[in-house]
Amino acid sequence: MSKHSETPALGAPALEVRGLVKDFHSGGLFSRAAVRALGGVDLSIGRGEIVALVGESGSGKSTLARCIARLERPTAGQILLDGTDVLKRDRFQASRQYRAQVQMVFQDPFGSLNPVHRIEHFLTRSLTLHGKAGTPDQLRTRLDELMTTVGLTPDMLNSYPHELSGGQRQRVAIARALAVEPEVILADEPTSMLDVSVRIGILNLLRGLRDDKGISMLYITHDLASARYLADRIAVMFAGELVEEGESLELLANPAHPYTRLLVSAVPDPARTGSYDPAERAELRAAVMEPTSCAYDGDPQQRCSSAEPVRHQVGDPAHRHWVRCHLYRPPAAASSHALATDPLEEVVSA
């Protein structure tokens, strides 16, 4: 695994989300009721960094990705790409300029490729729309290159989607995203519909694209093990808010939020030596499912995560590991309200 010593986020992040809120209307036509899917999310992805967004179904992770991809209009907040607020620049939908910078790979490679077209069509269309096709000769070279980059052979350009396997189709979807030479790829559960033995291949491909082309990625998944395998950092989402974030290995070795710990304890891992004690699990479950039992929460009606965010730093600041939970108490009394880290310290330990 290369490039882990780099701290890509030291420079300006490639993509940054600030205070993103998304409400969905619920009830009838005249109802003013709304469901808050995202409750003010802050997240940044450094250049050439892979950030995994994990959480269960309904946690809001796909909504966040769809907001960033501009498939949904956020209710409030900012999306900064290279420091520019893209929500201000193009208010209602993504401009072609934005699409050229941010591309999405979807979960279902069976549904995202129109069955009546050959593979060549999908890639050519992306290239032409974004003015990267050039002369017919250049186009041919580009197409061949794209296919090779994603581990397919150029002769598959003549195939129809149904002639390819799920893994190969997902590779085509990735090639289509790559055609516009994006800075950021949003991958929403790109392997969850594939057969298990080819999933690793897709993850390795994504990692390779980051290593070779420096593409930043947001990898959205419910699978903690694959997030740990692929991502530099993991952000955990629960009930529309980020509750914990940190370097992948560090975060999964020392999960601090009850929800993260519950998730980690639920993942089957035969290699795990000590299994979680059922009583401890029940306690975690209670802490997550009935936030009213949270001893540090002033208002019993409020979810602990919706109270004033208090980010505690966990462990060594170099791991950039923080948790947002009133229950968290640092092991040593040393740094409790730490997130205003001493920049010097960070440089030294990095």
């Binding site: 052979t153 057969d195 639920a266 089957p268 035969p270 290699a271 795990r272």
Partner: protein, 320 residues
């Protein structure tokens, strides 16, 4: 994990499958979905069947339940349950065999609940139809059953849409064990569920298995989950079993290259981060030989031929 290894092979097998072959007949050619598969499950044993979509694992489950329909056809081999020949059961025997002797929980079975009947009515239905209890007695037992899977008996009056996915799946499992079958077949029982719910349901199944002592045929593609739950397991590929042993042995020392690839497809949650390869595109195994004992209790198909054929899309298969 408390995996008891005591029940392995020492008892009379509950289910014994020998040289089972299932073909799907087409107009011009037929496909062999299950090819000379043999295994047995002891009393109180949890036996896992692992493999990817299309490898034939669900076809085996359906064959045991005698649920196969045209164009599928059992063209060879035998299935014996408690000494009886399952393939020879007549209609009435089959009706009693299903649910009373063997019960099955399907993938996303939670969606198979009748949406216009309450949970209670659906459970009562099982008791009145299969066990001949009175309605009052059935209701009492239905309440007990829900308690067994830790659902509030007040939920008997709920309709399926009023329960969460995990609760519905638990209700289905409760229904499956209602008549105390001696074998429970679980076909990907948690694939549609979140990990936290999955863990709870698996723990529940383990609890129930301890209490009621049934045997389990557990089918999944999730190797980590399978190793955690089952005592013994078999790995299938292309309708054949390529390896079978105690789950721990397969986890620590997989011998067949396909098993190794499958194991390598699940990154661990602990330890250093090492590059994994999974199964390379286009690698195929063909003419899988009969199993040979490589170590005590550890059977592996000798690898005779590994064909690396590019442009062979058949391997990655379809969605699971």
């Amino acid at each position: 994990m408390t995996v008891s290894q005591t029940s392995l092979g020492s008892h009379e097998p509950v289910l014994e499958i020998k040289d089972l072959t299932v073909k799907y007949r087409g107009d011009t050619r037929s496909t062999t979905a299950v090819d000379r598969v043999s295994f047995s499950i002891g009393a109180g044993e949890i036996f896992g069947l692992a493999g990817e979509s299309g490898c034939g694992k669900s076809t085996i489950a359906n064959a045991v339940m005698r649920l196969l329909r045209d164009p599928a056809e059992i063209s060879g081999g035998s299935i014996r349950f408690g000494g009886r020949d399952v393939l020879a059961l007549d209609k009435e025997e089959l009706r009693r065999f299903r649910w009373q002797d063997v019960a099955m929980v399907f993938q996303s079975a939670m969606n198979s609940l009748n949406p216009v009947m309450t949970i209670g009515d659906q459970i009562v239905d099982i008791f009145t139809t299969h066990a001949g209890y009175s309605r009052k007695e059935s209701l009492r037992r239905a309440a007990e059953l829900l308690e067994l899977v830790r659902i509030d008996p007040a939920r008997l009056k709920s309709y399926p849409h009023q329960l969460s996915g995990g609760m519905r799946q638990r209700a289905v499992i409760a229904m499956a064990v209602a008549l105390k079958p001696s074998l429970l077949i679980l076909d990907e029982p948690t694939t549609a569920l979140d990990v936290v719910v999955q863990q709870e349901i698996m723990a529940q199944i383990k609890d129930l298995q301890h209490q009621l002592g049934f045997s389990v045929l557990f089918i999944t593609h999730d190797m980590s989950l399978m190793v955690e739950l089952s005592h013994r397991m078999a790995v299938m590929y292309g309708g054949r079993i390529v390896e079978t042993a105690k789950s721990r042995d397969i986890h620590t020392a997989p011998r067949h290259p396909y098993t190794q690839a499958l194991m390598g497809a699940f990154p661990p949650l602990t330890g250093p981060r090492v590059p994994l390869t999974g199964l390379a595109d286009g690698v195929k195994f063909s003419n899988i030989a009969d199993l040979r004992e490589a170590a005590p209790g550890h059977f592996v198909a000798p690898v005779s031929q590994v064909q690396t054929a590019q442009n062979q899309p058949a391997l990655e298969g379809a969605r699971s």
